[in-house]
Amino acid sequence: MNYELQLDITRFLYCEAQLLDHHQYLEWLDLLSKDLRYRVPVRVTRERKEGSDVVYEMTYFDETYASLERRVRRLYVKSAWVADPPPRQHHLVTNILVEPGDTPDTCRASSVVLVLRSRGSVEELDRIVGEREDTFRREEGQWKLLSRDVRVDEAVLHAINLSMFL
């Protein structure tokens, strides 16, 4: 096992989580490659014989860097009501497994993310849990997120919206 790589990427994911938790979305964009593909496919309840229960034809997010940037910039606008007053949120990232990529400047990692969000004085927390499959690329000496797939567990989400990122 490549300890340095495991540590590097784990630290990347923790720092990323902290930026997302603190609503520092512009800083978060700096962690993303301009070639990013970011997808959160819909999950369905399907019999095993039908094959995968992950549906890529419809997603919760199907983003490029440009579309994510626009989503982020919106959250800073005064009339993005969902973001002000800001909800309190945490991304708990765990089960991190890092593998080297096909070239020395790439690698991939799987992890589990639990997002909890509290809005106003609403009793119930919004919650999303899922498994991430990420790839990273070293760009000018820095690791950048090149692709992310998040497979959420729920077929019916219990979050009133996904104004946060997963």
């Binding site: 959160v40 819909v42 369905v44 309840t45 399907r46 019999e47 014989k49 039908e50 549906v55 890529y56 034809e57 419809m58 997603t59 919760y60 997010f61 199907d62 983003e63 490029t64 440009a66 579309s67 626009r70 989503r71 910039r73 919106r74 606008v77 005064k78 009339s79 993005a80 009501w81 969902v82 809005r119 106003g120 004085s121 609403v122 077929a155 019916v156 989400l157 219990h158 979050a159 009133i160 919206n161 996904l162 104004s163």
Partner: protein, 457 residues
């Protein structure tokens, strides 16, 4: 009136209903009715089992054996396509002891076997297999009477399949009335029509179904405030001289409504930014009047009472905008909860790269992560949060606890020059919302108890 109701309506009196009526006559709605649990129980008894509810689009069931499972409020429904191409709908519950029969959201099966004791049903709902049937049962089991229970009514228009639990309900076409004319613009604008992309989004929000239905069907006013951020970011197009008030709100029968925002000139990207290859198809399939409306339209948004809404907008999160059709069902899960089912449909004949862009535009604007939906859900939740208290809930209306629907009331008249059917009011008005309330009230207070009994429901 209320003594006839089966539900527990312990504290709502004739006088409270009279007060609702009087408030509505002044374009007001008592706030307590939005989330009151007794009203919610009455809606379950008088509205949901007697009205047409959207279940599925035909493009979701392509081949024999294809099935989808849906909910009509609390009733589980199994829709399956037969070898004859006919789509049938059944209560998704085994006739033996009531087990939830098919647990998958969709798929393809030759038969449906209940795992509890092993009874098997075919595409027609017939009971075709009873585990150990020949040794355990004799003449006491009439298999022909033990088929899956079909929905009392199942009808479709332009690929949209609706069910109704009332065997004596008026036909779907009669119920939709002039909405059919607008459905043609949305769904029958090319020979091939629309197709569902992937599967519907489903998520649970804090909201009441009446407010979400009214928001899409009768409230274009909210867009300038709730969705201002998306205009600033170019996710929602804004053209010079364009104003959301340039358009019409069309009041239809049975609590349905449509809003069409239009430009007075032919926009640089006519037909809602659809690909040019589709324009001649629109002109072939639609009447000249319908085609002209679509050509000038920015947004078409509306709903079919009680729980179906739709919007055909133009959005995009990468600078360019694209058109798609979003249908959504507000499935009530309680006075404070709605499960949203949201489908993205795109013209079947659109070029595949356009379809891909339009689907991404949908995901970026509506659905759980949609930049417009994010703020909508926040607003609906805030209304519910402020609707539980003593003041809002006061049925004697002692705290001025009314929501108001005054816009245009007694002042703005229908525009006789509008070419489509229905009562078309120019600009922003609350006319559709007022008509939704009228129909809701009519159904809620209809003295149908005797009739219900005679159906043995």
């Amino acid at each position: 009136m209320l003594s006839d109701c089966k539900g527990a309506t312990a504290t709502i009196t004739e006088d409270h209903f009279r007060k609702i009526r009087e408030a509505m006559d002044q374009a007001l709605l008592p706030q307590w009715v939005l989330t009151d649990p007794e009203i919610y129980a009455l809606e379950h008894e008088k509205i949901f089992p007697r009205t047409w509810q959207f279940l599925a689009h035909e493009s979701e069931l392509k081949n024999p054996g294809d099935f989808v499972t849906r909910w009509m409020v609390d009733d589980p429904v199994l829709l399956v396509k037969g070898e004859d191409g006919v789509i049938r709908a059944f209560l998704n519950s085994c006739t033996h002891r009531g087990t939830y029969l098919c647990a998958a959201d969709s798929g393809n099966r030759r038969t449906f076997t209940c795992p509890y004791h092993g009874w098997t049903f075919n595409w027609h709902g017939d009971l075709v297999g009873v585990a150990l049937g020949n040794t355990l049962y004799g003449a006491e089991l009439d298999r022909s009477a033990m088929g899956l229970r079909p929905l009392p009514r199942l009808e479709s228009v332009y690929g949209m399949i609706f069910g109704n639990l009332d065997p004596h309900a008026m036909s779907l076409r009669e119920y939709l009335g002039d909405m059919l004319w607008y459905f043609e613009i949305l769904l029958k604008r090319t020979a091939e029509g629309m197709e569902v992309i992937g599967v519907p989004h489903r998520w649970v929000v804090e909201a009441n179904w009446k407010l979400t239905y009214e928001n899409f069907t009768g409230d274009p006013y909210h867009v300038q405030s709730t969705h201002r951020s998306t205009v600033e970011l170019g996710i929602t197009p804004h053209r010079a001289g364009e104003d959301g008030r340039m358009g019409h709100q069309i009041v239809l029968t049975h609590g349905h409504g449509v809003n069409i925002t239009q430009l007075t000139y032919v926009p640089p990207h006519p037909y809602q930014h659809t690909p040019e290859s589709l324009w001649p198809l629109f002109e072939q399939s639609l009447s000249p009047v319908q085609a002209r409306l679509l050509k000038h339209a920015s947004v078409l948004v509306g709903g079919v009472f009680p729980t179906l809404s739709f919007v055909s907008p133009q959005h995009g999160t990468e600078g360019e905008v694209f058109n798609y059709l979003n249908f959504r069902v507000w499935r009530p899960l309680g006075p404070y909860k709605v499960e949203i089912w949201s489908w993205c449909l795109i013209d079947k004949e659109a070029p595949s790269d356009y379809k891909q862009q339009a689907y991404r535009a949908y995901v970026g604007s509506f659905g759980p992560s949609g930049t417009l939906e994010q703020d909508d859900t926040e607003m609906w939740s805030r209304v519910v949060q402020a609707s539980r208290g003593h003041m809002v809930r006061n049925k004697n209306l002692a705290y001025n606890n009314f929501a108001n629907y005054l816009m245009g009331y007694g002042r703005v008249e229908p525009d006789p020059t509008f070419p489509g059917p229905g009562q078309a009011y120019p600009g922003f008005v609350d006319a559709v919302s007022r008509s939704i309330h009228q129909y809701w009230f009519e159904l809620l207070t209809a003295d149908n108890a005797a009739e219900v009994m005679s159906h043995e429901l």
